[in-house]
Symmetry: C2
């Protein structure tokens, strides 16, 4: 049976045995729910990989297959909207599997009363994002729920991509000695959403980094680099993504705090809001794990691409302390990062 | 621009320019929204086929790819739940494309406060349904929205199948002279849902027909029959499915009213509720369009399978009156069926 008592964070009064916001937050609670309910019951070897997508082999063709629900609130934000975000999220999950995006689906759950003009704006934005990313939206579905039974529009997208390079990258391939590289500055998407929330309005020119990354990733492969693992650090930010990979690869990861790219505006916003940028969602970044020998070429390759000009080497993989993520503010002075149980920033994607 | 004025059914006051329940109902309004917004903007040749799924060719392998959002209310009903329904819906959309189901995804949008025991029951039901149908749930996602911003649980599933027989069935292949065969008695799913809705409680032993149909369809192929088209008549029932196929194939379809299988309990419930069983959703039925010469063998084949014992030949395809669905109560006395603009039975799937 699903063991509620195992939650590290006790549920608030009245929510014992009930789903909480934190179960969808990308932190420890959601990881636990996924492992102890979905992975346990569905018994899929692919699910157990806990990657951004799954590898499915059909008649010898190696496909990546992924899905994501999008419930971002509000649906329009600086730098994008729920439609472009849904396309980028799917393209990037496929890219993180080393897969060239081929086709995607979109399923809308719309609340009765949602303005058709807004729906049209979202659909057009999806179409433009798909065309830009080189992926075709080939199938879809539309459901409508009564006013008050939804929240504007939710969009679930799934994607199929083709894996062109073996071995396919996966968290379990990460090895001690590997280097961690990020393709650009962190925390932009989450801060852009927060900047326009009614209850958290603050002055900023922060814009979401939401963008498709297959073109960037394909340039890495074209340079002859085969990343051991890639991941787009969305919900839970850089810290949740790295912590999960440390767990799955039974390694520890140490980040060099000073090397992590962070724009001045983002840094200021985080200080103003009391947030750690390591936990804030990104929607246009890719994390790469590569052999130490590939690090220099990877950085050169990423920096030659418009989406990777600020790429940086930010950490290393070690044996021992399996599953722990460290941050090093100065050489020799590292501290373990505690991943939040629940949700710091609800409905960011 | 999206032309609201073209709706045959004028929106109710206060809902002009807004999404209405009918936009998700499977009738003329939802068909119009899909064509004039999604298909127009996404510009996909596959979407234009308006089939239950799309055909995607990857490195010479012919795949079917489909998606469906599930918002059925209540989530538990006689004969199934939202979890088993989501699996069957996906398997049957693939089967209607002539595709053997390979892998599926499941994306949950859960309302804060939903009982974890209910979630567990749904996930277990999905796992059992997937195992029974021979499909693996390989990837997934979980999002949580605030209490009052959702309605229990919504599940979007997508599926990948492999097409083993060419040509793949599609509505545009239907030709004058073809015969229409249904695999069993109609209207069971919709009536089972209505039977337990608070506001429509009535005595009945009606049980949803929700079931996976690939095994039945594969037996048809094994018998050497290549259906021109298949479709599972869900939202909008038999009438909406047939009307859409008549439109897409530029034919007319004439149903023999007395030949359509309908259980006594379903007939009585429809009379009690004032509903036409032709418009009521099914979740375990397949419609077949075959050449006249194949009709007898198809019926024999279907009736040899546990899910097809009550299969019946119910109609024929004619040239002329393109896009019109007729029902014939007695030979020579046929009337055109008017497909409802909006939603007769909201949130049935």
């Amino acid at each position: 049976m699903f063991n509620e008592m195992n939650f590290t964070c006790p549920p608030p009064p009245g929510y014992k045995g009930k789903v909480q916001m934190g179960h969808g937050g990308g932190g420890r609670m959601s990881r636990k729910l996924i492992r102890e309910l979905f992975i346990r019951e569905f018994k899929s070897a692919s699910l157990m990989e806990e990657h951004d997508g799954s590898i499915v082999t059909v008649d010898g063709v190696r496909l990546a297959f992924c899905t994501d629900g999008h419930v971002v609130s509000p649906p329009f934000f600086p730098g994008g909207d729920i439609g472009s975000l849904a396309v980028h999220g799917t393209v990037n999950d496929l890219a993180a599997c080393g897969a060239r995006p081929i086709a995607m689906s979109s399923a809308f759950v719309i609340e009765e009363g949602f303005p058709i003009a807004d729906l049209e704006r979202i659909v057009r934005s999806m179409a433009a994002a798909a065309e830009h990313a080189g992926v075709e939206i080939v199938t879809g579905d539309t459901k409508v729920v009564e006013h008050g039974k939804g929240d504007g529009v939710f969009i679930t997208t799934s994607g199929i991509g083709v894996i062109e390079h073996e071995p396919a990258p996966t968290p379990r391939n990460v090895k001690p000695g590997d280097r961690v590289v990020i393709s650009g500055p962190i925390a932009r998407h989450g801060l852009a959403i927060l900047s326009i929330r009614d209850n958290l309005m603050f002055e900023s020119d922060l814009v979401s980094d939401s963008a498709p990354l297959w073109d960037l990733v394909s340039r890495v492969y074209a340079a002859g680099i085969k990343p051991r693992c890639m991941r787009d650090p969305t919900r839970g930010g850089l810290a949740a993504a790295l912590s999960e990979i440390a767990e799955l690869s039974a390694t520890s990861i140490t980040l060099d705090d000073r090397a992590i790219p962070l724009a001045e505006a983002a840094k200021n916003a985080c200080e103003f809001l009391g947030l750690d940028p390591l936990f804030i969602a990104n929607e246009g970044l890719m994390l790469f794990f590569v052999a130490a020998d590939d690090e220099t070429l990877l950085l050169e390759t990423l920096r030659s691409h418009p989406r990777g000009t600020q790429a940086a080497a930010i950490g290393r993989v070690d044996s021992g302390d399996a599953g722990i993520l460290f941050v090093e503010a100065e050489p020799g002075g590292r501290r373990a990062i505690d991943i939040p149980a629940g949700e710091e920033l609800p409905r960011i994607c």
